[in-house]
């Protein structure tokens, strides 16, 4: 961590970074980002947006440029997808986040969305990191699936070094020998980040587990681990999803999860108060 100048905590009780997006502040309370893996149609995006908003989501997600393992898989709607996402955001009143894959697209994507996401496969794409660093929009930086904490922070450092302090880290699971889950969700990284960095950190239990049945539990575990939020995939009809249908929640499942999320959040306020007392 020697080369980390901007992302790490330098002094005791250093203020934590708060990322403001419209009326939402990431780093304060617990922020829930929800929405489909990919934007498939205007109807799908708007319906999903309205339903996640009703359930209490804070930010809408949706992919327009998709980094797929196979070149033959659905690659996203591109600019058309961004137009739809922007509209869905306006109709639901939610800020929007989408992944940007190509440094040439950064300025364009900024025209439509509130937060730029750098995906796990691009975590170490340094030319992309420099470009999003210059863009002036908050950046959601996913952890590379083979990356250590210090490598991850080093990538965040690239963005901060360009003058953009608004980085949100996102744990999305790493590759291990375990094959039951799609990835191994490394929740220990959440309090670890809190020890060394002032940046907010959220968790993506959808990619982290790849299993619908595990999303809710890991989402609650993230709250207990001290995360600043979660990002979950919600599709109005997961069976029809063009991408990640196996790990997408349906709107009713999301709604029931949100009730538990808000409940646990309340409990955590009390638990955190106990923490503060014992440290006195």
């Amino acid at each position: 961590m020697k080369n980390l100048k901007l992302t790490t905590i330098k002094v005791k009780n250093q203020a934590r970074t708060l990322v403001k997006v419209k009326d939402i502040t990431i780093g304060e309370g617990f922020t829930v980002i929800a929405g489909p893996c990919s934007i498939e149609s205007e109807e799908q995006a708007i319906e999903t947006a309205i339903r996640v908003k009703e359930a209490g989501a804070d930010i809408l997600r949706g992919g327009a440029f998709k980094p797929r393992t196979s070149p033959y898989a659905f690659q996203g709607l591109g600019i058309k997808g961004l137009q739809i996402l922007e509209k869905a955001g306006k109709e639901s009143g939610l800020p929007v986040v989408t992944e940007v894959l190509d440094p040439r697209d950064v300025s364009w994507v900024c025209e439509y969305v509130d937060i730029l996401q750098v995906g796990t496969r691009n975590m170490q794409n340094f030319s992309l990191l420099k470009e999003v660093g210059k863009a002036g929009k908050p950046v959601l930086l996913k952890r590379g699936m083979f990356s250590t904490l210090s490598e991850w922070l080093s990538c965040a450092e690239y963005v901060l070094a360009e003058g953009n302090p608004n980085v949100i880290l996102c744990e999305r699971g790493i590759r291990t020998f375990e094959s039951y889950t799609r990835n191994t969700l490394d929740l220990a990284i959440v309090p670890s980040i809190k020890e060394v960095s002032h940046l907010p950190v959220i968790v993506d239990p959808s990619h982290g587990t790849g299993r619908l049945s595990l999303v809710e539990r890991m989402c609650l575990a993230s709250i207990a681990a001290g995360a600043d939020g979660v990002m979950v995939e919600v599709h109005r009809n997961p069976a029809e999803a063009l991408c990640d249908g196996d790990q997408s929640l349906s709107p009713p499942m999301f709604m029931s999860m949100m009730k538990k999320v808000r409940k646990l959040q309340e409990c955590m306020v009390e638990i955190n108060a106990l923490d503060r007392e014992s440290s006195k």
């Binding site: 600019i79 137009q83 190509d102 697209d105 300025s107 364009w108 025209e111 439509y112």
Partner: protein
Amino acid sequence: MELKEIRKKIDLLDSRILRILNYRMELALMAKKLKTSIEDKDREKEILERIRLNSTGLINAEFVEKVYTEIIKESKGLQQRDHRLIGFQGEHGAYGEVALRAWNSEWVSVPCAGYSAVFEGIKKGLFDYGIVAVENTLGGVVGEVNELLVNTDLYVAGAVELPVYLCLMTLPGTDHRDIRSVYSSSQALVQCHNFLERNHLEALQYYDSAGAAKMLAEDTPKSSAVIASKLAAEIYDLEIIKEDIDDFERNMTRFLILSAKANVAEGDKCSILFSTAHRAGTLFSVLEIFAKHDINLTRIGSIQSGAGNYTFFLDFIGSNKDEKVISSMEQIKKVTSSLRFMGCYKEKRVD
């Protein structure tokens, strides 16, 4: 050329053929305004003769005759119906046409090369009405139109306030990453300056925004986009990349609908033109009359008419049937050197 490319070219050409046909029909409707009867056998013969001589290549005389007999039949059919023709400045897809559609979507809009052609056309009876931009929240007054208004005897028949949404558009299938140059009117380019800078695009001035859209569809320059209205994208079959790209929140343009005859339909807004003697307090005495009659003014503008003399435009809320409006007009007549009541009309605000 690959099949896909050939088909793309055919699509572009088809939409162009339709636009040209539409233009021909517009001209036929204008011609009707100047002739007494629709049927003109000599003229039809002349047209068929001319196209027969012009048929080239794969187009034989028999085929063109068939096509043209249909075209002439259709244009005579259109001439029989009572169409209202409205002139607007610019090419199809211009904001004047967008405003006009919001006012009355059944009227036939006819493009004019300039504002003076709109005024001329109404005077000559080619158009039943004309629509002209008078002011924009960002660009201020349209000087050329004010100049024409001072010197005209046309009447105001309506007004439209239109939010201007500037859109970036390209030929269908263009990758946004390939866009280098953006054509539009100088006003539109200025209003999108920050957007163009952010995306590293070169601004290239064109005479008119809708004209730029037409040029893009017809000349298909590479790596290019245009800034124009959503309507222009529909008309020229262009693909919108981003809507509402101007740097300013509120971009509104106000249009006046002009006619050779005074508006007789009900109205709640009036426009007058007047000049006052070059003396202290003369303008004040006019405004004082409005104040005393409790009439709310919505716009006042001035234009120099000869050395030291000014003509004033004034819009106010009220109807020419209101007692207080009638009385104030009588009093204003006495304190001005000239007064022209331009019309009482309705104003439409588009959201």
